[in-house]
């Protein structure tokens, strides 16, 4: 029986020749859907590999469901499912056959049919893996991670290689699975918009260190309380006028049709809307939307900038 804390690490350090991949990582991952956020090379995959038992840390401790990775690596893998980045499966086997093998390895009663249906691959059950699209491979990856009835599933960049619809489908599936079976997920990704949709808690990893951790809403609200995205026909013009406004702390162009605006903490969204309306009427600019930027991306950027 696992405790509420799925994973805990203490001062994990790992070097690869001259590169420090992890530099004293200390964190606790509660039950739920946890996002491990960081840019490429932050150490996410290294941390995953340490938890799975593929590599040993140079120093530090880590526990999964209360079991030490040093002493109980095999037992940990029995209660864990893993979806690697860019997964590869034997091309000559059918999905059903491969899942049956995995079920046997886990010594679980998992029925491949059931898990293929769960991930939407029932009709492709008897097709060889080599005929699968990228999205189908990811789904198969989820199925093979689930079939052992794990307590925790590690997903390393689960939405890479997928189109918009594919990513949405995978993310919805993760949420659904967590709600149905109570399985916890640890998702490593640099696609923050995806994590924002599904995670209950997050940790920011940068240059091998945890720089922030907590409930996703707490983290975001703490770091980016007053940022808004304005989608507008002429962002350059709007930026010029907004800079002169008293309530505006910062305004930056974020795309060909959008601005990111930070307002003072004493002002509200209503105030911003009124100001933007007035400017748009005056300068004949078309405003499409003003949305609060509850953005993980913004929070991460701010935290990392503060660190540096």
């Amino acid at each position: 029986m696992c405790s509420e804390i799925m994973v805990s690490t203490h001062e994990l350090v790992k070097h690869f020749n001259d590169v420090t991949a992890l530099n004293g990582v200390t964190m606790e991952i509660p039950e739920g859907i946890f996002g491990l956020i960081g840019p490429n090379g932050a150490g996410k995959t290294t941390l995953f590999r340490i938890l799975i038992g593929l590599i040993s840390p140079d120093s530090g401790e880590a526990y999964v469901c209360g079991q030490s990775i040093h002493d109980h690596s095999l037992e940990i893998r029995r209660i864990m499912g893993v979806l690697h980045e860019r997964p590869i499966y034997p091309k000559h086997l059918s999905a059903r056959t491969y899942l049956q093998h995995i079920s046997d390895l886990y010594d679980s009663s998992g029925d491949p049919e059931e898990y293929l249906a769960l991930v939407g691959l029932s009709e492709a059950a008897d097709r060889k893996v080599k005929t699968f699209s990228a999205g189908m491979i990811q789904r198969l990856g989820l199925a093979q991670a689930l079939i052992g009835h794990p307590r925790l599933i590690l997903l390393d960049e689960p939405t890479s290689n997928l189109d918009v619809l594919g990513r949405e489908a995978i993310l919805n599936l993760i949420v659904e699975l967590h709600q149905k079976s109570g399985t916890s997920f640890l998702i490593a990704s640099h696609v923050l918009s995806d994590l924002e949709k599904v995670c209950t808690s997050v940790a920011f990893l940068n240059k091998g260190r945890i720089v922030k951790q907590g409930d996703i809403l707490d983290v975001v609200w703490a770091e980016v309380p007053n940022e808004y995205i304005i989608v507008v026909s002429n962002p350059t013009l709007l930026q010029r006028d907004l800079k002169n406004e008293e309530c505006i702390n910062n305004v930056q162009i974020s795309g060909s049709r959008s601005l990111v605006v930070e307002i003072g903490s004493e002002f509200t969204e209503q105030d911003l809307t009124e100001i933007v309306s007035a400017i748009s009427d005056r300068d004949d600019i078309r405003v499409y939307s003003i949305e609060r930027r509850s953005s993980l991306e913004g929070a991460f950027r701010r935290v990392v900038d503060n660190e540096e």
């Binding site: 799975i52 095999l74 893993v82 034997p90 000559h92 390895l105």
Partner: protein, 273 residues
């Protein structure tokens, strides 16, 4: 214990399906069995062809030779065994390259040990499969025709030769696996394994002025067949091989193979994947 057995069985089935899809096993089996059977039959025929025209019943030495051949029948299986050894010294590094080194290179090994599979378990299963696929059909291909063709009177000699054959295979597998685990590249494994095994064969067959034990370690089959053939010909020895040389050669090869194998396992256990 029962669960462990069940787990190993599941792992074995997994390995067979993943690493040896149809028709790899079948082709290898057919090839090695055919080679062995044809080799034994050819050797029996060669003996017949060689001796019959020369046979003159007034020549006592010929009848003595025939007596000796009846007692020690290694003559009939020495050539096929040596031929099979040559073939396997070539095939085994390639198999290890495809089945073990390739997985390290393509990160498949990483995938596999993300499941509840021990690293040592998976390597052991693969080595067992390679050994079974090389030794099994070869041994069957030798035993079946040998006994169909009347066999021989000296069963002990036959067993010793088969043991030497197995020791050869274990030795070459260990060498190849060690290279595979250290280099983790299929091309290095194939090239390195083939080069080393060629060297072993070259040294054992062509470098005559060296200790018999060394030849025995590098090629146990050759030393064994040379030893017994030496006694089959009256007063004619290829070179002097003492029984203890044969024993030390076989044991040395086996021990060296086991040591390399254990070193490989330690590497596997400790390495970052």
């Amino acid at each position: 214990m029962r669960n462990k057995f069940k787990h190993l069985k599941a792992l074995f089935k997994f390995e067979l399906d993943v690493s040896f899809p149809f028709p790899r096993i079948e082709l290898l089996l057919i090839f090695l069995i055919s080679l062995a059977i044809v080799g034994v039959y050819s050797q029996f025929r060669l003996v017949g062809i060689y001796l019959v025209p020369e046979l003159d019943i007034s020549q006592d030495s010929i009848t003595e030779v025939l007596h000796k051949l009846e007692d020690i029948d290694i003559f009939h299986i020495s050539a096929p065994l040596n031929a099979l050894t040559l073939v396997l010294y070539g095939i085994i590094p390639l198999m290890v390259s495809f089945q073990i080194a390739h997985d390290f290179e393509s990160n498949l090994f990483r995938r596999y040990i993300s499941y509840p599979i021990g690293r040592i378990e998976i390597i052991l299963i693969r080595i067992f499969i390679i050994w079974a696929l090389t030794c099994g059909p070869s041994t069957l291909g030798i035993i079946i025709p040998y006994f169909l063709l009347g066999g021989g009177n000296n069963f002990i000699v036959f067993i010793i030769l088969l043991v030497a054959f197995n020791i050869s295979v274990i030795f070459v597998i260990s060498v190849s696996v060690l290279i595979a685990i250290i280099t983790r590249k299929s091309s290095y494994t194939a090239l390195g394994g083939l080069s080393l095994t060629s060297l072993f064969l070259f040294v054992s067959y062509f470098i005559t002025y060296q200790p018999a034990i060394l030849r025995g370690i590098l090629n146990p089959v050759y030393l064994s067949t040379a030893f017994f053939q030496g006694y089959a010909y009256i007063g004619v020895f290829v070179y002097e091989i003492l029984p203890m040389d044969l024993l030390y050669g076989l044991l040395g090869s086996l021990l060296l193979g086991i040591c390399m194998f254990l070193v490989s396992l330690v590497f596997v256990w400790r390495m970052d994947v």
